[in-house]
Subunit: 392 residues, 2 copies
Amino acid sequence: MSKGFRLAGRFEGVTTSPVRDILAVVNRGDVISFAGGIPDASLFELDDFRAAYDHVLARQGRRALQYAGTKGEPELLEQVAARMDRHLPTTPEQVQVTSGSQEGIFLVGQTLLDPGDVVLVEQPTYLAAVQAFTLAGARLVAVETDAHGMLPDALSAAIAAHHPKFVYLIPTFQNPTGRSMPAQRRRDVAEVLLRTGVPLLEDDPYGELRFEGEAAPPLAAVPGMSAQTVLLNSASKVMAPGVRIGWLRAEGPILRALEIAKQAVGLQSAVTDQLAVARYLATCDLDAHIAHVVEVYRERRNAMADGLVRRLPEGAAVTRPEGGMFLWVALGDGTDTAASLSSAVDAGVAYVPGWSFFAADPDRSTMRLSFVTNAPRVIEDGLDRLAGALDW
Amino acid sequence: MSKGFRLAGRFEGVTTSPVRDILAVVNRGDVISFAGGIPDASLFELDDFRAAYDHVLARQGRRALQYAGTKGEPELLEQVAARMDRHLPTTPEQVQVTSGSQEGIFLVGQTLLDPGDVVLVEQPTYLAAVQAFTLAGARLVAVETDAHGMLPDALSAAIAAHHPKFVYLIPTFQNPTGRSMPAQRRRDVAEVLLRTGVPLLEDDPYGELRFEGEAAPPLAAVPGMSAQTVLLNSASKVMAPGVRIGWLRAEGPILRALEIAKQAVGLQSAVTDQLAVARYLATCDLDAHIAHVVEVYRERRNAMADGLVRRLPEGAAVTRPEGGMFLWVALGDGTDTAASLSSAVDAGVAYVPGWSFFAADPDRSTMRLSFVTNAPRVIEDGLDRLAGALDW
């Protein structure tokens, strides 16, 4: 450690950072990356964003460059409340702007978690959420899942055994598996949470990227659940991640606590970006943009899922998500995808080894592949490299 | 609390948030506010920022809207390293971009503090830093200060008594007092820190806003101190706070730990704003801008300091800072400025009651006044209202 500095004890659990290493690999031009959850930048509505920023700087410039309130700019609160209101009655007062969903996850951890507290998570789950909860001193307990998400009986048993502070779920196009909870499973899981009174942190960054099947309203929309849920959304996957704008929906006093935590973390999200995203939402057709992105991503999902089915060795399994950004391969042969990553990168292709998404008992034969960053022909090329490197 | 939610125990210490209430008062049009540390928005270089954002969106748009690394954009790291290098040899590798200085303070707290750890602070000190350290579970211990800042002997005794994780100082134009540590005091304080090996978190958001006197290099520039210091700077006071861009300088492994903490908090600062600030720094004359701001703020400091000397009752004291944004009044008569705030606001003027800046044993007869937000004539008017409301 640097001179005189002694790290906090809880920091010892978070010394590795797979996402960082992933991003480093992505930046190597000769590697086809299926690793990061990186939207295709060629799909960004660049002209619309340029116009939105220019409008903001030209018409609201002094306000955009000044300090502002912690909750968020009124225009943005209104826009996102109206969008959430499609599935769940939402007022601007129930919204808090965050610097991406990641900050929302972190704020909930800071607000609710004492050292030693338990958070129940899916098995596997989003690794940067694990990182954020661990920084708050929490102990993560993985609950058994099947192809439809967390198992209600397992959840019920885990609540009885561990008295968790909250449950963290990504019910739609989950990261890393791509799986979604069907409507009945949502109701069954909500029933357990309502019966036990355990709050839910519902992370929904991908829900609008649906390629097929029926839209699934958030668990927060199950009657009774909204008061017991912090629901996270983000501009990152449907508009652009570089602006670092997300938002959360909650009810009652927890909102004020989250706002105080956000103030301590960084006073407020950048006013420039808040006003530009609000302007974009007010003047552009986000639904049309998403419809276009969905067309493109669906084709890529097909290319990757079909291409994997053709190439995978016997005994291996792959998910075929109805939306989102990721699919999940389980080789199921006792191999370790972490061990083979370096030969894959040498062969010019990258993925995320599955172990890092498990809070406990990792299946090391798994890997997460993003299908959104590359065009179908590049996906084919990358899968050829992958099959070669892993000797499929 | 909202249904099912139970707040973290450490959150009980941070339920009030004076800054938030200050900002609420500022937004009332009929109140002359000396409360917030709010730069004068009419001084922002609006055209330059508009051009910088437009350049970024036009030429680097897909990159600006995409995910990026946690450390910060290379152009920005280079620009701020070159600026810091004026006082202290600094490479881009030693810099971490933060979402304002506040995030830098928070990240240091997250990285170093275990519950119960002690942080030594000036008496009084910046309240939002207290908030950030308290969220990490720390215990704040105030060290005696005089007109030249923290007393070396008191610091030495406090280190022996409390074994702090680090010391938090704002050595130049301190918030809230406006005081600066002279060069000899800096050397004496650094000598104590070097001897005891206790790290320093040096917060320097105001240092470039100097109206008179000799520039004081940061404590980190005292030989031997740079390896033992995290030094915080920000665009907020010299360019614009709404972009939420700050940066820190550190050396060795602590940098990596701070980067991991930042990743957990929010992945990265907005790429849009990072690139726009880098473009502004590369193409505009920040020194000329600061020289202009300093002219304007000096006149306001004069108006407020002189105006207070004329109005204050006998026995009261006021600082006359050589720069920065704040001055500090101590009525010294046993009155409580928190109790008189509501009559002041009724009379159309706002300030921050001094008690909230004390980690312990507050002098409740104190108040912080910002002289930068309002023109001299408005300052005169506000001081008349203040004198009337407080019966001076």
